[in-house]
Amino acid sequence: MELLQNLGLGLAVAVQPINLFYAFVGTLLGTIIGVLPGVGPVATISVLLPVTFGLNPTSAIIMLAGIYYGAQYGGSTTAILVRLPGESSSVVTTLDGYQMARQGKAGLALATAALSSFLAGTVATLVVAVAAPILAEFALAFGPADYCALMIFGLVGAVILAQGSIIKALCMIVFGMLLGTIGIDMNNGTARFTFNISQFNDGLDFAVVAMGMFGLGETIANLERKDHVRHVVDRIRDLWPKPKDLKAILPPALRGTVLGSALGILPGGGPILASFSAYSLEKKISSNPERFGNGAIEGVAAPEAANNAAAQTAFIPMLTLGIPATGTMALMIGALMMQGLAPGPQLMFQRPELFWGVIASMWVGNAMLVILNLPLIGMWVKLLSAPYRLLYPSILLFCCIGLYAIHNDAGDVLIGAVFGFLGYMFYRLNCELAPLLLGFILGPMIEENLRRALLISLGDPIVFVERPISLTFLVMTVALIIAMAAPGLQSLRRKAFQE
């Protein structure tokens, strides 16, 4: 009953004209950048962070969330039509989706992707509504030591499930945490690593780091790559699936939804892992697996459902524990903090209208996406031919305006340029940027909780193993690290990301 009441409150917030407007702006922007080559959701959300300062927090998060799951939709459109995954979570969709398009079934493939995603979005919204309060309630009992252990577990977990070298990702986390210590230490007024730069006194601004690395750094890296020649499927017919198609879509989409919802909650799980796992599950249980890779409809329905469900349930740890599972979630936390809100279990009780409004708006946004994507597909296909030489100057201009707008300070633009260089450098060194962002967000929180935990225990570190919650997280962290070093898991992980 309480669930219905909460969802009712959320829906009432979500359908307010202003929030409907921002959900629409978000999903529209998300769809566009999902389709546009070389512009990703992380960069877009970073660039738009300063714009959200002027909004109320609920509308701001609704819009940013819309960009996030809108990009998932848009990304699958390009995966199907031109075999170019707009987002990394739609890599799997290229396998069968593009084959379907080549067999003249592009319309059916697009509809499958959109309807599976909508189904997954609806179910996952319910999952979030049920699971989030339970988790938040549970997390209220956490002490400083427990939080510390949880955050360390979250960071280590995020690395395992990320792509690329584990040890380099760990380096990036610690480097991010070190960047987070810049500024005046709130507890004793000592200036740390400020190098007499006035902008450093209040700490490095999250938006400056994100915009510099993702907005500027990624643009430089994109410019360096050669342009791909794209082959666009010219006409899309038979968009609406027949009843027999719907029957073929439903079971794999449901399986993908369940798998995606579960994996999305895990730290670092997120949409990419979910889509890969859903695809291999379908292949495993299929009676004739050789159809996969040759235009199997399950190969589109399951991963598309899974990545959308995971995109949604990734909000659970973010909203209830204040722990980001992915780089995008770190940006959302950054946006909340810049609005003066502390993400964590109190959020749900202090700001129920924000909490439930954001959850309900995800469902509203998903409905908007079906409308945006299916009938307007012709328009998005045209966007695909937009040349990057006209796109990137606008990204740079928005970045510069955004950097300036944070504090109306031209110095921030300069610092942003430094992070642009760093972002490009890390790209070339094959070091992933998302772990750095997670470390930067969680570092100060870990320090604060560590300080409090050790103050209470009079400096005795035994407090971390005395408390059952903290001990559990630490044991799980150690288990993860051991599993990481095991050769079996390493080859499995490599295989999963190669497929």
Partner: protein, 147 residues
Amino acid sequence: MNIHMSQDRLSGLFFCGVAIVGIALSSNLGLGTPARMAAGFFPMWLSVLLLILGGVVLARSFIQADEPVGEISLRPLTAVLAGVVIFSLAVERWGFALAGVVLIVVSRLAADRFKPLEVFILAVTLVGLSALIFLYALKLPLRLLPF
């Protein structure tokens, strides 16, 4: 510019370098005791951890062959960064309109097919649109023109 050093070795060197600077600066800040952590406590341990992790990356690069960093094309790197730096220095002196146009023209040098008319139209359109959005709709306190 072509860098023959492997990605791992350069990453390892970078992280170790940052860690050493971190250790040096944190020790000046004072460590305190665990119960009463001084400002240097947390960054010191982070730096030590980074030194260990970066050291592993560095050591591994001598055992395992890894891809070299490869060709760095200086044009996109310098054009984009130069555009942004000029913007930051110019925006308060010359006003947003001029700084924005310079940013777009300079950064546009990063990619091929620089057609003066196209770039000019692009710059004027983008600056005009963002002036409407940011200066008039969102009321950002920025001057449009230098006078």
